[in-house]
């Protein structure tokens, strides 16, 4: 058994290229995604058609452009050419002030602004429009100050856990989860499929070792590898990306270990159902990658999905781990809040282990 584990270690560590990939990749990805992924809208190019060009419209324009959300595009579409501008790509929003804006506002107490958004990207369109109307609303408030409203309810908004609304808080737990899940499942599934394909599995099978020992020996080095990866990723997100660890670090590490074991058993399971490395890889990449990214609440909140998909997302292990990571790191909660999620992941691990021991072929076809 010991000799077998040592063999596996040799297998992994003698291949420098794989080592670089295994450790370098997560580092680059965490840094890249941690800094780059964001759904905030900043500096959205906006085109303004100002038919009146008076002090009010100029004041509103200045207010919009000084907010940091918008930059003025140099493209000023003429009448009827708005679609052309959108088709060309860059401009997200066109704001049209009607003519004699200030005069109408003074005389009729009613003047119109039209906001046209390029909604081919619905989320950006939504955000851009709501920012614009909030800023115009602000201006209106100032404008009305002279004749202040008699009664008002003021709202104090508080953003819990993430007052600065940083995207990092949303994305880093997801990135950690995805990397652990995909790397671990992939590594194991490939390594077993490789022995199958090269025929060396035969040698292991005729040895006096039992299937469970073979699997355990195969998996142990990868547990260590993946755990080291998890440590590196956590260190980076704490020191470089500024993620807090409000809860217990020990608990976080223990949960990570559990999740790794789960991903490994999934990898073993994949390898037992595939007949080549190529297939193992396509299964763990293709079948796993997109669902892991999309159905885990990493980018898209699960509660916005249609109900059948919400139900389906329950069988996605990353979904539960992301909740755990967020609870411990950002909310600072203890074990009593996440025992359910922990239990689910443990259950999945047991399920995959049992399944793969059952499916593990001791005979050759």
């Amino acid at each position: 058994m010991r000799g077998f584990i040592i063999k596996e270690f040799y297998h992994i560590f003698r291949d420098i290229r794989s080592m670089v990939v295994l450790f370098g990749m997560p580092v680059i990805q965490v840094l890249l995604f941690g800094f780059a992924l964001s759904t905030e809208v900043k500096n959205a190019p906006v085109a303004i058609i100002d038919y009146s060009n008076d002090q009010v419209t100029r004041a509103i324009t200045t207010k919009l452009l000084s907010s940091g959300f918008f930059i003025l595009s140099d493209q000023v579409p003429g009448e009827g050419h708005i679609e052309e501008v959108f088709r060309h790509g860059k401009v997200k929003e066109v704001i049209v002030f009607e003519s004699d804006f200030a005069a109408k506002l003074e005389k009729d107490r009613q003047a119109g602004i039209q906001i046209i958004a390029d909604a081919s990207d619905p989320n950006t369109a939504n955000l851009v429009v709501s920012y614009t109307s909030a800023i115009i609303g602000d201006y209106q408030q100032e404008y009305l100050k002279g004749m202040s409203l008699p009664v008002t309810v003021r709202t104090e908004s508080q953003m819990m856990y993430n007052p600065a609304l940083k995207s990092v808080f949303m994305f880093v737990p997801g990135v950690i989860t995805i990397l652990l899940m995909l790397i671990t499942a992939m590594m194991t599934s490939i390594s077993i499929a490789r022995e199958n394909e090269l025929g060396t599995m035969e040698i292991l099978l005729v040895s006096p070792m039992r299937p469970i020992q073979i699997i355990a020996g195969k998996v142990l080095p990868y547990v260590l590898l993946a755990f080291t990866n998890a440590l590196i990723i956590l260190l980076l997100s704490y020191f470089v990306l500024g993620m807090p660890v409000k809860g217990s670090l020990l608990l976080l590490l223990a949960e990570s270990l559990l999740f790794i074991v789960m991903a490994l058993s999934l990898g073993i399971f994949i390898s037992t159902v595939s007949n080549s490395q190529q297939m193992a890889m396509m299964l763990s990449m293709f079948a796993l990658m997109l669902p892991t990214i999309l159905l885990s609440g990493f980018i898209f909140p699960i509660e916005n999905m249609p109900v059948p998909l919400q139900i389906f997302s329950n069988i996605m292990p990353p979904r539960w781990f992301i909740i755990i990571v967020k609870s411990i790191m950002i909310k600072g909660l203890g074990f009593q809040y996440i025992w359910k999620e922990t239990l689910i992941i443990a259950g999945m691990a047991l399920f995959f282990i049992a399944l793969s021991i059952k499916k593990f072929r001791i005979r050759l076809e």
């Binding site: 290229r17 794989s18 990939v21 295994l22 990749m25 890249l32 780059a36 992924l37 964001s38 759904t39 905030e40 500096n43 088709r87 060309h88 997200k92 506002l105 107490r109 009613q110 003047a111 119109g112 602004i113 039209q114 906001i115 390029d118 081919s120 989320n123 950006t124 955000l127 429009v129 109307s133 609303g137 209106q140 404008y143 009305l144 409203l149 008699p150 009664v151 309810v153 003021r154 709202t155 104090e156 953003m159 856990y161 993430n162 808080f169 949303m170 390594s191 490395q277 890889m281 990449m285 293709f286 990658m289 997109l290 999309l294 159905l295 980018i299 898209f300 909140p301 916005n304 909740i323």
Partner: protein, 397 residues
């Protein structure tokens, strides 16, 4: 095959028969390799569903998952006032369909517990003396607490909450002024072009299509040559008179066809199942796609020349695929990324193609609108293929 061979039989007599014969032979070699590759792909019954079924299923299922639209806000109300005014405010929150009042509670701690366990997204706190303050001092305040781990969702939820409270304000004003509706002086009208319903699927399906086609192209081609290396069968091709370019063409064309076929199938599904408009020209999409696929296949082939085992090939392909996909603007807008990250996208073929396909399908952009990204893709294709052919050695390592 027989018929194909007849096709290349010398039929003209004003060309020297020798050159003609040679040309025919060259073509025939490529055809033989193609035949071998197609056979290898289609006889592997286990891989076929992975190549053809999984992408379709993923397109059909995942398109529904990708939405930022907020349909569900679970609200806990802490009403410490229990007055007519506070109840009126609460009833305002009960009206819109996306607000679900999860619980009423008297203590903030209890409400915060709901936020912690993730059962609630938002807490509304109406303090004691809310009504009194409103009547006596003409102003009162309420507190709206939002779970902001997902920052952009929190911003939208906060805006919803605020607008409902503003509505409440308006109601009071109307009451006071004796039923006259006071309109805000600036009248803002919105229009959302190209996607008036703000439907997410319209935006995401073209992107997911690109993704699936890319994964097929990049992974299969990167694994393919390495597999021959690992199995040792590459030696047989090395010692054969097959030329480098013939081998490369023979290896890449099958995946090029398969990927284009899947793109066509996916577009049909997008049109029929998701009712997604294709405003621009289909020819333009396929034209760009065929060049784009050359670029991805080239990357895949380049990867396969750099490594010795399928495992390494896969890791490298995976690394590039994940980085390219996440940075491509498929899920999060490119414009939100920091400057340096947008610079990285200069070398990201997926970003170019996603931009193009969205512009052409959703906005009906013409060739001149997409000229720049298209040229980038073309340069990409030429570079990656040249590099791959140059790196590929017909000797054993």
């Amino acid at each position: 095959m027989v018929r194909l061979r007849n096709l290349f039989k010398p039929v003209t007599n004003y060309q020297s028969p020798v050159t003609n014969y040679q040309q025919t032979r060259k073509l025939r070699i490529i055809l033989y390799i193609l035949q071998k590759e197609f056979r290898q792909i289609f006889r592997n019954k286990a891989m076929l569903p992975i190549i053809f079924v999984i992408p379709v299923v993923q397109l059909l299922v995942l398109a529904f998952a990708v939405t930022f639209e907020i349909k569900n806000i679970n609200l806990v109300i802490v009403d410490q006032d229990h007055s007519v005014a506070s109840r009126q405010l609460v009833s305002k929150f009960a009206a819109p369909p996306f607000y679900h009042i999860k619980a009423y509670s008297d203590s903030y701690t209890e409400a915060e517990e709901q936020l912690k366990t993730g059962k609630a997204h938002q807490i509304l706190i109406i303090p004691i003396q809310f009504e009194q303050d409103l009547q006596k001092e003409s102003k009162a305040s309420v507190q709206l607490i939002t779970n902001a781990i997902d920052g952009s969702a929190a911003a939208i939820m906060n805006a919803y909450g605020n607008s409902i409270i503003m509505d409440y304000n308006q109601d009071i004003l109307v009451d006071l002024s004796g039923g006259v509706d006071i309109k805000p002086p600036i009248d803002i009208r919105y229009s959302y072009w190209f996607n008036p319903e703000l439907d997410y699927k319209t935006y995401m399906v073209p992107g997911i299509l690109v993704l699936l086609v890319t994964i097929i192209g990049m992974f299969l081609s990167s694994m393919n040559v390495v597999r021959e290396k690992e199995m040792g069968t590459i030696e047989q091709i090395n010692v054969s008179p097959v030329k480098k370019y013939q081998f490369v063409i023979g290896k890449l064309l099958p995946f090029w066809f398969i990927a284009l076929f899947e793109l066509g199938f996916g577009l049909t599904l997008a049109r029929i199942v998701f009712d997604i408009p294709i405003l621009g020209s289909l020819w333009l999409i396929f034209g760009v796609a065929s060049v784009y696929l050359l670029a991805t296949l080239g990357i895949g082939l380049l990867i396969s020349t750099l490594v010795n085992t399928q495992q390494q090939a896969m890791f490298l392909a995976w690394f590039f695929a994940v980085v390219f996909i996440m940075m491509s603007g498929l899920f999060t807008p490119v414009d939100s990324m920091p400057e340096w990250a947008q610079d990285i996208n200069i070398i990201n073929p997926i970003a170019y193609f996603i931009r193009i396909i969205r512009m052409v399908m959703l906005k009906g952009s013409q060739f001149q609108d997409i000229l720049k990204p298209f040229i980038a893709i073309a340069i990409y294709a030429v570079c990656s293929l040249t590099l791959a052919v140059w790196r590929y050695r017909k000797v054993a390592s």
